[in-house]
Amino acid sequence: MTKVLIVDDEPFVIRMLRDKLRNAGISVVSAVNGKEAVGLAMSERPDLIIMDWMMPEMNGIDACKAIRTNPEHAGTPIIMLTAKGQELDEKKGRDAGATYYITKPFSPRRILRLVEECTQPSGGGRA
């Protein structure tokens, strides 16, 4: 079963995505900051990570970089889901290792579709 790690300091974002993904039969783990996320990425070995940027303790960018240093996660799709909507921000995110960059507000439907695309054995590559 596909496992997704959701990292966000806003509880309602986690709640919303967890409900959406679980309804689709995807298992979900969540973290409220980057530091926690790096730990969970190691222990839970998720197939996909949805990462916020602006978070206390450790932000999403640093977390992405940290996760990518782990060879196990070198190819793991990371969807950066953030309120920072500038072009420069997107480049920063992708440079840090994000596979997708989606700005808030977002459509849970679209996230689900993206997660499914990424995790199906045939289409599971980087876009």
């Binding site: 806003e10 309602f12 974002v13 709640r15 919303m16 409900d19 959406k20 309804n23 602006m54 206390p56 309120a83 920072k84 909507g85 500038q86 700005t103 808030k104 507000p105 977002f106 459509s107 849970p108 439907r109």
Partner: protein
């Protein structure tokens, strides 16, 4: 050879001749007598012997015979001697006659009668001598005639001439010399030629003599000879050395009188000087509009050209009927004051200004027209009063004085009158110009002052440059913006002062000079402008050409503005928009995402659906408050803030805020304490605004503190106001940020990294407090905490004040 006198020769011949003729005659006569006597004696003796009678008789006879014989011999000797003497005399006479003739001839020739000739007779030695003598006389006469002719030439010569010997003494002069110089020949011959030169000419003469004579060639030079009367006559001397055996034995000098030429030359020089002076005066009058300068220079020129000693120039004021001195040169100090001004009709200048006729007096002391005048007291003699006439009236008077008698020539007066006319016209022109100028200057000054006022009051830096980009004007704002004083930059090129750089820091002067680009001065260029403090200030610069009447660019006017603040605000606004958009995106995520989920029917449980709706609602409200806050800012910025003041008790407001922030307080485990006496007087405030203040300050204390910190809110009466203090043990504010925390959009960097915010909380608080007539104060130390103290006026004082006002109003009514 010793020449014997012919007379003595003749005497000797005579004596010789007599000796040779008389002595033998006497000898032979004596012998004859002796012989006859002896013969007769013998005869007697015979007769005595033979006939003694007879002897006696014979003796007597014989004695008579002897006696007669002696007598005959004696007379013979006497006659013979006489004849001999006569013959000798005749012979010597024959011998002496040609000699006498020769002597006479020589005497004639010697006395100058060169026409005398000796008669030539026969073919003897005398004839030959006479012929030789005559030939000599012919040759002499020929030479003499020639000399006479030459003498006549010299006598008739028109040019004076002298002949000098080797010692420069005069050997000869001709009548023309006497005629020209007055020196008679007998007076000058033998005198040193150097006596005839004055000190000025002598060195020239000496030099000429030395050089020319030594080298032995003729030359012509110009000198002046001192005449008998003592005056000098300029001459041209053609001098030729007289060479003897290769040495100069003297010199012939022929003079050419050049006094006429000199006079003409002097005349021409004088005319030239006059023309030059006229030209100078005309140039001064046409190029200068400074009346005093023109007049002073005119006086100077006129004095210089006429050779007079002093002068003054007066300007006529026809309304006051007065002449006023505008300038003077060389006037004795003690008379300057007396000659400062004259009424019309007073003194000579006063008369001339009325008559308009020049008065020239060669000697003041001898002129009956001049009396009791200051001029006489100066001791001056020559005096001239010249009217300076323009077209229709006398504009002024030029007075000139000379220490010595001055004879004014016609041409001099003519010249001076031309000067008078030029200066008169100039004075009129200048008067007209000055009238017009003062009128226009008034207008221009007004315009200038207006422009000056505008330029110094505007906040934009304005400077003007000339064609060479030299700064010609620098306004006050330019001083304030750059720190360069006008007095330090005016006159320097803008390249020296303002080495503009573009925003990338590249030099714009030279090829990319702001002034040289874009002539219309439309769009502002953003350039970095150096300041006195060495900073580089971002400025917006526009540059426009200043054109003269012909449309040619004579300079530029440049306007610049410090855009540091504008850029800062710009940056802050960008940051604000980014922050706001970020802050808006998060609550929107809840609304958009959760409604989508609900619509998709993903949430089946009622409880979950309920929770979703609550979140949507909360986030919706968050959005609304943000919009409200933005609107508040907009209101603050536009200065429209509606405040409905009333008496508000602080404590419930504080408690309400604590209650509202309960969630955050709990989450961060922060202790919030209210410390206020129970009977705190109410403040005069808009309840909503007061709430905003308390909420923001408390929220800040919570946000910028670590978990477990404590926040204490004090309330206390301080004089006529209430002080609300928010004291936290949070992060504190870095010292460099402290002065800026009340600026809109400003956020301390370390705080901004850790806490979401708009940068509008504190500015909003400040604006509200200020609008209530209160104040806010902050004290903070990093890692120790911050203390914000808000002071608000008490409601009772406000009421009292208002009551007093209305009470006074009613009494007054």
């Amino acid at each position: 050879m010793k020449i014997r006198s012919p007379k003595r020769l003749a005497a000797k011949i005579l004596v010789l001749f007599m000796a040779l003729s008389v002595v033998p005659a006497l000898f032979f006569g004596a012998r004859l007598v002796l012989m006859a006597s002896s013969h007769l004696d013998k005869d007697v003796n015979v007769w005595t012997k033979l006939e003694p009678a007879y002897a006696e008789h014979a003796r007597t006879f014989h004695d008579g015979m002897k006696e007669r014989l002696r007598k005959e011999i004696a007379s013979f000797a006497l006659y013979g001697s006489f004849i001999a003497a006569a013959a000798a005399l005749f012979a010597s006479g024959l011998l002496l006659r040609p000699l006498r003739k020769l002597t006479e001839g020589v005497r004639h020739i010697g006395s100058g009668n060169l026409h005398y000739r000796l008669p030539v007779q026969g073919n003897d030695e005398f004839a030959a001598l006479s012929r030789a003598f005559n030939a000599m006389a012919d040759s002499l006469q020929k030479r003499n005639d020639e000399l006479g002719r030459k003498e006549r030439y010299i006598e008739k010569m028109l040019d004076p001439m002298w002949v000098l010997d080797a010692g420069n003494r005069i050997f000869d002069v001709n009548p023309a010399f006497t005629k020209l110089f007055g020196h008679r020949k007998d007076e000058v011959v033998g005198r040193d030629a150097r006596e005839f030169f004055d000190n000025a000419n002598l060195p020239v003469f000496d030099l000429q003599m030395r050089e020319k004579r030594e080298r032995g060639f003729a030359d012509v030079y110009e000198l002046s000879i001192v005449c008998r009367r003592g005056n000098n006559i300029p001459v041209l001397i053609s001098c030729s050395p007289i060479m003897e055996n290769g040495r100069a034995a003297g010199e012939i000098g022929v003079f050419k009188d050049i006094s006429m030429r000199k006079e003409l030359e002097d005349d021409i020089v004088q005319k030239n000087k006059e023309l030059y002076a006229l030209n100078t005066i005309a140039a001064i009058t046409s190029h200068s509009l400074d009346l005093i300068e023109i007049l002073r220079n005119t006086v100077k020129e006129a004095i210089a050209i006429t050779g007079m000693d002093a002068g003054g120039i007066y300007i006529a004021d026809h309304e006051a009927r007065e002449l006023t001195c505008a300038g003077h040169v060389g006037v004795p100090e003690q008379f300057v004051a007396r000659m400062q001004s004259f009424k019309f009709g007073e003194d000579l200048p006063g008369l001339v200004v009325i008559t308009g006729d020049t008065v020239a007096v060669s000697n003041v002391s001898r002129d009956p027209r001049i009396f009791r005048h200051a001029v006489q007291e100066t001791g001056m003699k020559g005096y001239l009063c010249l009217p300076l006439k323009s077209k229709d009236r006398v504009q002024g008077i030029l007075c000139m004085l000379s220490a010595e008698e001055h004879l004014f020539t016609g041409s001099e007066l003519e010249f001076l009158e031309s000067v008078g006319h030029i200066v008169g016209v100039a004075i009129e022109n200048i008067k007209f110009y000055n009238r017009e100028r003062s009128r226009l200057t008034g207008l221009v000054d007004l315009e200038k002052n207006r422009a000056e006022a505008i330029l110094s009051s505007i906040t934009e830096g304005v400077y003007t440059t000339d064609r060479d980009l030299r700064i010609t004007y620098w306004n006050r704002a330019a001083e304030e913006i750059t720190g360069f004083r006008a007095c330090d930059v005016v006159g320097r090129t803008c390249r020296e002062v303002l080495a503009h750089e573009d925003e990338q820091g590249e030099r714009l002067c030279r090829d990319r000079c702001v002034m040289r680009r874009g002539n219309n001065g439309g769009e502002a260029l953003h350039v970095l402008c150096p300041t006195a403090g060495g900073e580089k200030l971002p400025t917006a610069l526009t540059s426009a050409p200043i054109r003269d009447a012909s449309g040619e660019e004579t300079g530029r006017v440049n306007v610049f503005r410090d855009i540091t603040r504008a850029k800062e605000i710009d940056r802050m606004k960008t940051d604000f928009v980014r922050t706001v958009s970020h802050e808006l995106r998060t609550p929107l995520s809840a609304i958009v995402g959760m409604t989508e989920m609900l619509m998709d029917g993903e949430i089946r449980e009622d409880k979950a659906a309920q929770e979703y709706l609550e979140t949507i609602h909360t986030e919706g409200q968050r959005l609304a408050s943000m919009v409200e806050e933005l609107l508040d800012i907009a209101r603050i910025e536009s200065g429209r803030q509606e405040i409905r003041k009333q008496a508000v008790t602080v404590q419930p407001v504080v408690e309400n805020c604590i209650n509202l922030l309960k969630g955050r307080i709990a989450a961060k485990n922060i202790t919030v304490t209210w410390q206020g006496p129970s009977g705190l007087p109410p403040v005069s405030a808009d309840r909503e605004k007061l709430h905003q203040v308390v909420f923001n300050l408390l929220n800040n204390a919570l946000c910028y503190s670590d978990d477990g910190a404590s926040v204490t809110i004090h309330g206390a009466r301080r004089d006529d106001a209430l002080a609300l203090t928010f004291e936290d043990t949070g992060w504190g504010i870095p010292e460099q940020d402290l002065p800026h925390i009340f600026k809109k959009f400003y956020r301390s960097k370390p705080h901004a990294r850790r806490v979401k915010g708009t940068g509008l909380g504190l500015p909003l608080v400040l604006e509200i407090v200020k609008s209530h007539g209160g104040s806010i104060d902050v004290q903070s130390a990093p890692a120790k905490g911050s203390t914000f103290t808000v002071t608000l006026p008490l409601a009772e004082d406000e009421m009292k004040k208002r009551n007093n006002e209305s009470g006074n109003g009613s009494i007054g009514a």
